[in-house]
Symmetry: C2
Subunit: 126 residues, 2 copies
Amino acid sequence: MAVSDEGRRSEAEAMCPHRLVLEHVTSRWGVLVLIRLLERPYRFSELRRAIGRVSEKMLTQTLQTLERDGLVHRDAKPVIPPRVDYSLTGLGREAAEQVRELARWTDRRMADVLAARQAYDEARTP
Amino acid sequence: MAVSDEGRRSEAEAMCPHRLVLEHVTSRWGVLVLIRLLERPYRFSELRRAIGRVSEKMLTQTLQTLERDGLVHRDAKPVIPPRVDYSLTGLGREAAEQVRELARWTDRRMADVLAARQAYDEARTP
DNA sequence: GTGGGTACTTTCTATTAGTTAGTGCAACTC
DNA sequence: GAGTTGCACTAACTAATAGAAAGTACCCAC
């Protein structure tokens, strides 16, 4: 492929929102939310406790993004105290299953990663 | 990612190593690098052009992180001008294939996501 | 009436991403 | 033979973003 074609294609890809959706799904808190919601619906604070070390702001933001992309369903009951349930949509379930597979892979291969790191670190600090 | 900060890095790695590896694999530029390297080895600048809109700093950082985790192999030939080839390790190929599946899913379901977004936006701007 | 819980929003600061410029050397152009 | 370009980075700086903390508005238990 010619260099000029390569350049214009990257330009088009950056403008195309495909990369952005992928970023939402693979975002730091997005992956953890999706994996959690795969087991069952969660309430906001419950989800926050389950994930751990998420700020409320980031969880809200992540959930809003995923809801807008049609991956997460938000069910707010107009009661006091407020009760909001989050669950996966069909679309969200598809994404979440793939993300969970990645997470499981990470789990399985953790030892290899740690070994690689140790080798890497030792190679440059003799 | 403060790769140079030894102290806080080991601290973070001890806290939740599994989550961190997943973050490296699903990082913004990490996914794009892995998918590209799945087709063939790339040189640094070549990879930069292929991905598009990556700063050299971020590409360097991403590649170093992935190399340290044992996902990417770096082959630097001591010639002038410098020539450095990046390729996937066995471990990296496994991760990359899963990431590519996610990217393909995003491609397939893009229309649904866009429809969901439109519905979401229209619902709160009448 | 103090403390805790609900689901957020707002404000402010710490961290991180991205931009720009520089490195040393060779191979091109002119 | 001066100037430009490309290579694979690194360092310094700035813009953007994440995270911490507090505020909101309401209820319940003690």
